[in-house]
């Protein structure tokens, strides 16, 4: 169980060295997207390049461009889009509750941020831009600048180890 401080964009090497149970703190740009943004990206493509991106399953609470609370949403609802997002170059999906591990093999990781801890996240994230803003506050595609955002637990690693599955068994 080791601790890593990483900066986006993430390389393949960055994510392949991570093992389930490791703790990560992320800096750099991260993007938030949930149900509606995923559906639009499938239809129209991503508004930004997702090469090496960290994609955060989050519907933040924002007021006048300031992040007030920004914990994770349940990733399972976006499971149908995992393959596509990873194909577009996403190296880390941040969320809660987990996803089927197969698509992550050899190329990406799933990072768990403690659910409900939105106030703590707000101290580590600032708004850089908002895309797909017609979708409204919770559903827009936000770009955040992260400063040591974490603790993020490597819950699914690129070798196929899945802490959620292990806990259920």
């Amino acid at each position: 169980m080791s601790e890593h401080h990483l900066r986006t964009p993430l390389s393949e090497e960055d994510v392949r060295m991570l093992e389930a149970g490791d703790v990560v703190f992320l800096s750099g740009i991260i993007y938030s997207a949930r149900d509606k943004a995923h559906a639009l990206i499938r239809r129209d493509g991503s508004p930004v390049s997702l090469q090496g991106a960290a994609l955060y399953h989050c519907g933040p609470l924002i007021q006048e461009g300031r992040v007030l609370s920004a914990g994770p949403t349940t990733s399972g609802r976006m499971a149908r889009y995992t393959d596509e997002m990873l194909e577009m170059g996403v190296r880390a999906i941040v969320g809660k509750g987990g996803l089927p591990p197969e698509p992550f093999r050899e190329r990406a990781v799933y990072l768990a941020y403690p659910g409900g801890c939105g106030a703590a996240a707000a101290r580590r994230l600032e708004v850089v831009a908002v895309h797909l803003s017609d979708l409204g506050m919770a559903e827009s595609f936000w770009a955040f600048r992260a400063k040591d955002f974490g603790p993020l637990i490597v819950a699914i690693d690129s070798r196929g180890r899945d802490l959620y599955q292990e806990a259920r068994e």
Partner: protein
């Protein structure tokens, strides 16, 4: 009186969104002291730290500020000369701007967002009538992560409802932001069981579980699901069962999941 109800609604939501009831904090703290898995212990401590940060920064604990659900306790001798639904709605609209709360309420089909957390039949007000002339309102904003995992099942009377509950918690807990608070409704009808489960959560106040509740809670905690589903001794922090007589051919069971951020605040008006 209408104005008092509006203001009490705003205050109850403000209090609920930014802090947790003392007994909820105590249950998390006690679990952190008992938890054997380091990662799980760290999660529980981080949750408590997050609540402290929310208090210092005066911000909602969680970005999912929930669907506005209220319990109103009203004396049977009291007569209201205004529309309670309308007054509480105004309170919700005000609190959405003031707290602020994320606009969560949408039409179920068009998904159009009202932007003020009100809409058709929303807020949801659960009325409880009591003796006397009292009036109080409890805000119980309910996040979707845990509410989405809740369910009603019409079991066969020969089934063991507790086996059923343990299996559903095993499958679903990770998505519901554990450690959980679980409201269980046993018996009644299809919808009464669901209301019992919601009431079990509304009435949960930190009192000790009875023998049957404790046995079920222990079984759930022995699953090893742990905080956020990443493994550990702490899967649920409290469990309450509410019962009603049911048809001899039926066994309705409802489980209402509540995440660790068990936000609830009461304002007494009268």
């Amino acid at each position: 009186m209408r104005e008092q109800v509006v203001e009490a609604t705003v205050r109850a939501l403000q209090k609920a969104e930014i802090g947790l009831p003392e007994w909820v904090i105590r249950r998390i703290r006690d679990a952190a002291a008992r938890e054997r898995r380091p990662l799980a212990r760290q999660h529980l401590r981080f949750m408590l730290e997050n609540v402290a940060i929310a208090g210092q920064d005066h911000l909602p604990i969680c970005q999912d500020t929930g669907l506005p659900i209220f319990q109103v306790r009203m004396g049977r001798e009291l007569k209201l000369d205004f529309d309670l639904q309308e007054a509480v709605s105004e309170g919700v609209r005000k609190a959405t701007r003031l707290v602020p709360m994320r606009p969560n309420a949408v039409h179920p089909q068009s998904r159009e967002n009202s932007l003020d957390n009100t809409g058709l039949r929303m807020p949801d007000i659960i009325m409880d009538y009591e003796a006397g002339r009292g009036l109080s309102i409890t805000a119980f904003p309910k996040g979707a992560g845990s509410e989405n995992m809740s369910l009603v099942a019409m079991l066969n009377p020969a089934d063991d409802p507790f086996d059923y509950i343990v299996e559903r918690v095993r499958e679903r807990a990770a998505n519901a932001c554990p450690p959980l608070f679980l409201g269980v409704g046993l018996g009644g009808s299809f919808d009464l069981s669901a209301r019992l489960a919601k009431h079990a959560l509304l009435d949960m106040d930190g009192r000790e579980e009875d023998e049957e509740e404790q046995a079920l809670l222990d079984r759930i905690n022995s699953l090893g699901i742990g905080p956020m589903g990443l493994g550990g001794d702490t899967t649920a922090l409290s469990l309450r069962i509410e019962r009603a007589y049911c048809h001899t051919a039926s066994l309705p069971v409802a489980i209402n999941f509540q995440c660790w951020a068990n936000r609830k605040a009461t304002e007494v008006i009268l």
